[in-house]
Amino acid sequence: MSVPFILFFTCSAIAVLGALLLIIAREPIHSALALILVMVSLAVLYLLLGAEFIAAVQIIVYAGAVMVLFVFVIMLLNAGVEQRTNYSKLAKFAGVPLGLFLLLEVGHWMWRSAIGSTIANGPGALSQTSISTPDLSKLLFHDYLFPFEATSILILIAILGALVLAKRGE
């Protein structure tokens, strides 16, 4: 059993564990923390796949900013234990089977896919043929410039939206 495998299975186990904790947890703050766990393990997996830039972005932006925001809001709203209201019968009875079905179906086909048999190449734990960031940035700022600028407008809109919503009556 080579190191990549061990690393992979460890990280994926942690990720799945985190996801499970997310679903099972009673308090939202526990779910938030579980999600952070998932994200960190995913970042390691990105590194394993050779996407260093993305791993870094994941940690900095996702786990570092978005999740912090979540934790802020949870603490602000003093979200406590969930009440057990049961208005939706559909969700109650169809929920788990559906999710499981989705999971198994997609997983099954992923497993059997042709592309799946490709071995992720890369030397050692950190692949040698890692993706170079300059190449990525070239792609980003040449071919995908328009979407890039569009997303910056999107962020602007999001900021404005958040501002408007957060202002209380006036």
Binding site: Y87, S88, L90, A91, A94, G95, L98, G99, L102
Partner: protein, 665 residues
């Protein structure tokens, strides 16, 4: 030849009058309304006179025919708006327009205080229009248009006082009962078209001329056609069993009873039989049925008339009875006699009704004869004219009814299709007619007043009502003299006038026999003595005896010994009740036909079919839509979790679809 080529003018004038009065007359003063109403009929009458003048100048051996435009043209079936004139038509035109004119003038006085004045004259004019269409029509379908139209006007006029339930019921009864007959008539027209490929009289008659006489034992095509057409006549001319509407029709104003239910509409059936004589002559079974129905109705209706107490109802049953005589005449082959009786009947029955109206007007609306009496001196003009008409209808020699009734009974006893039993029925009926008519006169005008003289102020009717009475009285007295020479063995002027009509399309074998009544006198010896013998025989024949007997009995029961009537009534209680209640025919019809029909209509057609099936289906569709909508609506529960679940369901479905497609590929 102006009118002859423009026959439609005779029709158009009353129609114009009806339209003017009906559409614009509502706000016109009474004089305007009745000028239009009376004027249009008067002009029509003048056109008829002009028509006669022109007609006498042309060769009248065949039907004068005018085609105006094509009305229906569907495949082989063509019907034109075509009018025709022959001697028979002229007789009918004269009767219709003359009596209509007198009734219109009478109505000015009679309806003077009634509401809906303009409506009355409009309907009357419309009626005249339809009746003239019927008479002038040159094909079966146009005649049927007139036939239906007069039925419509009859309905409108019977129910003239439409706020009165008995009146509207009577109108409905009339229309529905005649409808039953009209159904037969329609099938007859269809059968005629199917047989002859045309509904035109000229075409049909020329085709019929080459046909054989049909047998009496089986129903051949011609017999079927004749019987079906006669069914219409049974309804329209109120014979057994469809006579029930005529007595009820007395709910209408008296001028309506006089014009429609005495002189013109009810005679349409007789006219139709006479017009279709080529077919009837070749269908002996149909002719026998006609004569039988006529004779039986004449007798039956006379028995009912004996015991009626309403003055108009007596006259109504009398009309049914006299129509029976007309059909009897046509049924035994004496078409001219039947038409002659039609004409004289129009005069005296019209007069009787108008005079009855005058009596009712004088008695301020009272119609029950038991509450009248001794009116002889108070309303003399009405009395004398009514008495003249009674003499006519009873068949007292010298008056109009005698000549026509005598001819019919003679044909029934000696004519080519003579039948002893029919003759006997007719004879007894004549006696009964005399009895009940004189009973009417004696009860109304003689004896002591049986009403409160202080409360009812009896007054003679105004001039515009009495003058028509007098004119019709002259007709009742003198109208029969056309046939006078016939008494002494000469030719009957009336019959010889109509001879070309009924001699055409004759069945060859019977031509010589048809000449027989006219040539009777020449068979015996010398002319002079046989004339005297003929006269004596004519004046003492059975019909006269029956008439005089009737008069004597009526005098006995109602003037000499009035209690005799009561005692006779008590002795024959059962029979009295039966006849007095008109043999319970209305009740029988109600139980046999009307109640079951109502039951079917209510329970089967209304509740089951209409409510459950049709409404159920339509409402059911709406209900299903609502229910489905209601179910689908619950998707939008406002619950975000169920929305979320639906989203995932959609995603899963989509994924499966994609994977499935990918797999197939």
């Amino acid at each position: 030849m102006f009118i002859l080529t423009h026959l439609w003018i005779i029709l158009a004038l009353p129609l114009l009058g009806a339209a003017l009065n009906g559409l614009l007359g509502r706000n016109w003063p009474k004089t305007a309304v009745n000028s239009v109403g009376v004027g249009s009929v008067a002009l029509s009458f003048l056109c008829v006179l002009e028509l006669i003048r022109e007609f006498l100048q042309i060769d009248a051996s065949h039907l004068w025919f005018q085609r105006y435009f094509n009305w229906i043209s569907v495949g082989h079936f063509t019907v034109d708006f075509a009018l025709s004139v022959d001697q028979l038509t002229i007789v009918m035109l004269l009767v219709v327009t003359f009596v209509s004119l007198l009734v219109h003038i009478y109505s000015i006085g009679y309806m003077a205080h009634e509401g809906g004045y303009y409506r009355f004259f409009s309907y009357l004019n419309l009626f005249v229009f339809f009746m003239l269409t019927l008479v002038l029509a040159a094909n079966l379908v146009l005649m049927f248009v007139g036939w239906e139209g007069v039925g419509l006007c009859s309905y409108l006029l019977i129910g003239f006082w439409f706020l009165k339930k008995t009146a509207t019921d009577a109108g409905k009864k009339a229309f529905i009962t005649t409808r039953i007959g009209d159904f037969g008539f329609t099938i007859g027209i269809l059968l005629a078209f199917w047989t002859f490929n045309s509904v035109d009289f000229g075409t049909i008659f020329s085709q019929v001329a080459s046909r054989q006489v049909e047998s009496v034992t089986s129903i051949g095509t011609l017999t079927a056609i004749c019987l079906l057409l006669f069914a219409g006549a049974v309804g329209k001319s109120a014979q057994l069993p469809l006579y029930v509407w005529l007595p009820d029709a007395m709910e209408g104003p008296t001028p309506v009873s006089a014009l429609i239910h005495a002189a013109t509409m009810v005679t349409a059936g007789v006219y139709m039989v006479a017009r279709m004589h080529p077919l009837f002559s070749r269908a002996p079974l149909a002719m026998f049925v006609v004569a039988l129905v006529g004779a039986v109705t004449a007798f039956y209706s006379a028995t009912i008339g004996l015991l009626q107490t309403d003055i108009k109802k007596v006259l109504a049953y009398s009309t049914v009875s006299q129509l029976g005589y007309m059909f009897l005449g046509c049924g035994v082959g004496a078409y001219a006699a039947g038409i002659f009786h039609l004409m004289t009947h129009a005069f005296f029955k019209g007069l009787l009704f108008l005079a009855a109206g005058s009596v009712i007007h004088a008695m301020n609306g009272e119609q029950d004869m038991r509450k009248m009496g001794g009116l002889r001196r108070k309303i003399p003009v009405t009395y004398w004219t009514m008495f003249a008409a009674t003499l006519a209808i009873a068949g007292i020699p010298g008056f109009a009814g005698y000549f026509s009734k005598d001819e019919i009974l003679e044909a029934a006893s000696k004519g080519p299709q003579a039948n002893f039993w029919l003759w006997l029925l007719g004879l007894v009926g004549a006696g009964l007619t005399s009895f009940y008519m004189f009973r009417l006169v004696f009860l109304t005008f003689f004896g002591k007043p049986r009403y409160d003289e202080k409360k009812v102020h009896v007054h003679e009717s105004p001039r515009n009502m009495t003058v028509p009475l007098m004119i019709l009285a002259i007709g009742s007295v003198a109208g029969g003299w056309f046939a006078a020479p016939h008494l002494v063995g000469g030719t009957d002027y009336f019959e010889s006038w109509l001879h070309p009509v009924f001699a055409s399309y004759q069945v060859p074998a019977q031509v010589t026999q048809q000449e027989l009544p006219a040539g009777e006198g020449e068979e015996n010896g010398g002319v002079q003595s046989s004339q005297g013998m003929e006269l004596l025989r004519a004046l003492t024949g059975p019909p006269v005896i029956a008439a005089v007997l009737g008069l004597l009995f009526a005098w006995w029961f109602y003037i000499r010994k009035p209690d005799a009537a009561k005692r006779a009534m008590q002795k024959m209680r059962g029979l009295y009740t039966l006849i007095h209640n008109k043999y319970y025919v209305d009740e029988i019809y109600n139980a046999l036909f009307i109640q079951p029909l109502l039951w079917i209509s209510t329970n089967v057609l209304w509740h089951t079919m209409d409510e459950k099936m049709i409404d159920g289906t339509v409402n059911g569709i709406a209900h299903i839509s609502r229910e489905t909508g209601g179910q689908v609506r619950e998707l939008q529960s406002g619950n975000a979790r169920s929305y979320a679940t639906w989203v995932v369901i959609g995603a899963v479905g989509f994924t499966v679809l994609l994977i499935g497609l990918w797999m197939v590929r």
